[in-house]
Amino acid sequence: MTWIPEVASNLASKVDGVLFVITVLSLIFFLLITAILIIFAVKYRRKRDNEETPYITGSEPLEIIWTVIPSILLIALFVYGFVVYKEMRNPPADAVDITVTGKQWLWTFDYYNGKKTLNELYVEQNIPVRMVMISDDVLHSFFIPGFRVKQDVLPGRYVQLWFTPTKIGTFDIFCAEYCGTGHSVMLGKVNVLSPEAYDIWEHGLPGGQGQAVASLPPAELGEKIYKEKGCNACHSIDGSTLVGPSFKGVFGHTVELADGSKVEADENYIRESILEPQAKIVKGFQPVMPSFKGILSDEEVTAVIAYIKTLK
Amino acid sequence: MAEAGADQSHGHHMDPATEYSSSKLGMWLFLGTEILLFGGLFAAYAIFHARYPEMFFEQHLELNRTMGAINTCVLIFSSLTMAMGVSAIKWGKQKTAATFILITIVCGIIFGVVKYFEYSAKFEHHIYPDTSIFFSLYFLMTGLHMIHVFIGLALLAVIFVLTLKGKFNAKYNTPIELGGLYWHLVDLIWIYLFPLLYLVG
């Protein structure tokens, strides 16, 4: 494990530069203070009682030196930090816009080409991207450690951040602002694709990333979707109650709804709950689930149902 | 608020002069924190007024200026009577002081009654603290002020009784003076609230 995530955006190396300079200066000061502390504590340790000590009450030249030198260094660090920050805040004019919506506890991405993904962000290598972000509910914070970018996502107001991904691969997206029970599972991935791969994702080959997993048996595919699409933020598989009802043993059982009516949890009920979550609300829960219409394909919904059936 | 001379001796049982100046310093500091408490609301007022000037203008018209103006006069008058009460006790005139304090209390009660009618009129028109940002500010600022009026009235009532019992005289009257300071603060805050809410909008 390296001490800092690998550099994966144009901004990352610049932020690392700031971090590096501060680290070096801090180390110098820290080692200096520690060395002096230890040397003094050893050299001047009390050897006998009633040792004579000098009456030294201060030194103006020293006070001035150790006020002025750190001040100069600190102001230099401030300027360096601000210059890089300014660049981080101002996207280039040719950046591609992607709209991000944070919601307890998922990220949805709307692309300029009409595509929409959930928790999985697709960007093209070396193309600057501007993320225009808003929250549906509480504060979230969009954080990609590999890119060294972070921005709180607010309700009722658009905020932005930008980056140019430089490295092909998959990197973590974290929610960095506490947002409730599912905060720690509000995770996403950003997939940086080569221009060719991005082109395929954008235009060709229907199913895109779905194809890669299509060979999995349905229940296993369902489990994968359960984890990747954020179902696990609200629905447990061990019977414990989170924000939503647990998936354990739900299939085939009778469910009591908020209006007091009862319904059997069969394939169609689960399908409806995924695509039109507000249609039937289970008693004791809030109508907060977002719709997965247009996010999960029919095949994927079937896979999730197959997975739920295995949870006896 | 000058600090006590360092060469003078004082202890737990302070000499009267130090006790007096200590109490006064303490009261002034406390009044400072009260102003900071309202300061948060004034800051919110400034921010939202800058953001929604139209809303503030339109909705402030719904406030009853006449009642507000009457209350302003009542409070200013009560501050005057309070000050006269303080100066009366400094001359050693206990009965006069008690009378002025009583007038102050009556003014405070009149203020409360007028405010009660104002609030009821708002509720009748279905205007509540959650109606809009402006009315949130209106209710919170005047409500918090009202709480201070009640606290002030309670303090003055105690002071009134003690004055009648002859506990205060020309030499010892710190509680009356401190109570007076508190009442002036209550008055002062209202003097800011009235134009901000009723007039400027």
């Binding site: 501060i22 801090s26 203070i33 502390l37 003094f40 504590a41 001047y44 009390r46 050897k47 000590t53 000098p54 009456y55 030294i56 009450t57 201060g58 030194s59 020293l62 006070e63 006020t67 750190p70 401030f78 930090g81 601000f82 210059v83 890089v84 920050y85 805040r89 509910d137 509480v138 504060l139 450690p145 970018v149 972070k150 709180d152 607010l154 960095a176 506490y178 029970t181 599912g182 905060h183 720690s184 995770l187 989170l242 | 006590a4 360092a6 001796s9 004082h10 302070m14 200590s22 500091l29 924190t33 408490l37 309202f38 948060g40 919110a44 939202f48 509540y128 603290p129 959650d130 949130s136």
Partner: protein
């Protein structure tokens, strides 16, 4: 320094009276100090135990020991209790109460009745906290809106408890300011005051200026939940960022309310165990006031990623760098005090030296967070968690433990076992570093804070941190047992075991009622150690 004015034949130790009422109705500042000391220590242990539970949950990546909601409640309680019930009243209310009158040569604080009333208000706040535990909040101690306005846990009671505590804080601060102004013994000029008094004074000023603002902020949050007011709710035209501005306008100065008294403690311990005058008295005294002043101008450095404007970020980053300067000055002056001293590594001195070491790390990592570009990456990660704990535990709690060991003989008239105290120090020091140093690396790697479960890549460092928490807890346990058994079976403490020159050591241990038979006449400053002929370098 002062004439020894206690007539020993009338000596009545302040601890003599027994019984519950003699405590709860006392107006003696030394007893009120003990009431606070016991209360805050209790809350420290409770919140520390909660921290152990959290660390235990974080031993493995999955959320397996407690469910995520419970974890969120745990960190909310840990933060709220530690901040509002332990560390804000903390040193100021306990040692401040005990020491201020003794150090300035007064028989009590200016308003003894107000003093005990402040403690009752503190108790009222704790009672409200207990009720708030019935459906404990899960907002984090920062109560950020809109989450805190919408969660269905009981935010109102918890914030109301904190609101009530605010009054206690304000009245205590007010009392200390007036005491320092009006009650100093003859000859105790401002520039002869012990630095702990300067620190307490700066703290009291902060309490007065900042606490009303958090009071009104929490009140607004309460009305948001109860009356439907919408100042922080975008749907009603409000602004969630406004809450953060209000909150940090208090809570950043509050950080200094927590740390400045500890700095005062360190300034007392180091000269005594070095037999040297404090180096740069005025620099240390005025830097406390400087910190207090600048601390009101840096609140938005908690909000660099919140969506504030570039200009605001620039100004607040600059001011944040400024606040580092007076802090650095203090560290340099303490270190210089050791020069050519006669250094005795008493347990209190070990805590003081530990303070300098750990606080330096805390301060330097603060520079990372003040630098805008670096903060974007590090904000709301474990780096912040580590930085904050290096300042709050490495700083304040080390200062608190140092004060406990230093003034223990004076306060309770008993001695504790010094060898055991050193062993406890060792475990506390090592345990603390093992717990929190790995968190700097976790933060740099991107591990966000307040995560009930976490990606597997962080597991080894997270586990290391958890092991460290066990060492730290073990050290604190030894310390607590040592100090408590000292109370029961410790030797009687002499009047002045360290040959300190400060006023509080020139009287019996424990001090008598009313402290001084006659108010002393002060003729010199507190730090006249060493041979005077070699004057300033």
């Amino acid at each position: 320094m002062a004439n020894h004015s206690i007539a020993h034949n009338v000596y009545v130790p302040f601890l003599e009276k027994k019984g519950f009422l003699s405590w709860i109705l006392t107006t003696d500042h030394k007893r009120i100090g003990i009431l606070y000391l016991v209360s805050i220590s209790l809350f420290f242990l409770i919140a520390g135990f909660i921290a152990l539970l959290m660390r235990f949950e974080l031993l493995t990546p999955a959320s397996d020991f407690v469910d995520p909601h419970t974890y969120n409640v745990l960190f909310t309680l840990h933060g709220s209790i530690m901040v509002f019930f332990f560390i804000v009243p903390g040193l100021a209310a306990s040692f401040g109460n005990f020491l201020i009158p003794l150090m300035i040569g007064a028989r009590d604080v200016a308003f003894p009745k107000l003093n005990i009333a402040s403690y009752w208000i503190y108790l009222l706040g704790t009672a409200i906290l207990l009720f708030a535990l019935l459906k404990p909040a899960d907002t984090g101690w920062t109560f950020y809106t809109p989450y805190s306005a919408t969660t269905n846990t009981d935010v109102v009671l918890l914030t109301f408890g904190v609101f009530v505590l605010g009054f206690s804080s304000i009245l205590t601060g007010l009392n200390f300011i007036v005491t320092t102004h009006k009650m100093r013994a003859p000859g105790m000029t401002w520039h002869r005051l012990p630095l702990f008094i300067w620190a307490s004074y700066a703290t009291a000023v902060l309490q007065l200026l900042a606490t009303p603002v958090v009071g009104i902020t929490l009140l607004l949050l309460i009305t948001e939940r109860t009356l439907g007011v919408g100042f922080f709710d975008p749907a009603k035209g409000g602004d969630p960022i406004l809450f953060q501005n209000f909150f940090w306008f208090y809570s950043h100065p509050a950080v200094y309310i927590m740390i400045i008294p500890a700095m005062g403690v360190i300034s007392e311990i180091i000269p005594v165990f070095s037999r040297k005058p404090i180096f740069g008295y005025k620099a240390i005294a005025y830097s406390s006031l400087g910190i207090a002043f600048i601390s009101f101008l840096v609140w938005a450095h908690h909000m660099f990623t919140s969506g504030i404007s570039e200009t605001a970020a620039m100004i607040f980053s600059f001011l944040t760098f400024l606040v580092a300067i007076p802090t650095a000055i203090k560290v340099f002056n303490w270190t210089a005090t050791l020069y050519r001293g006669s250094i005795q590594l008493h347990s209190a001195m070990l805590y003081a030296l530990g303070f300098i070491f750990l606080f330096t790390i805390g301060g330097l990592t603060g520079v990372f967070l003040g630098a805008l570009a670096a903060d974007i990456h590090l904000h709301d990660t474990y780096f912040v968690v580590a930085h904050m704990h290096y300042v709050m535990i490495g700083g304040t709690v080390m200062g608190f433990f140092g004060a406990l060991h230093f003034w223990y003989p004076k306060w309770f008239g008993k001695m504790f076992n010094e060898t055991v105290a050193k062993i406890a120090w060792f475990f506390v020091f090592v345990g603390f570093n093992v717990t929190f140093f790995p968190q700097f690396f976790l933060g740099i790697q991107g591990m966000p804070r307040r995560y009930a479960s976490y990606p597997a890549e962080f597991e080894s460092l997270m586990a290391l941190s958890t092991y460290g928490s066990w060492i730290l807890a073990f050290g604190i346990l030894i310390m607590a047992v040592n100090l408590i058994s000292g109370l029961i079976s410790g030797e009687k403490a002499p009047e002045n075991p360290y040959n300190s020159l400060s006023l509080e050591w020139q009287m019996p241990s424990p001090p008598p009622h009313e402290n001084f038979e006659e108010i002393p006449q002060v003729t010199d400053w507190t730090y006249g150690y060493g041979k005077k002929k070699e004057l300033e370098v």
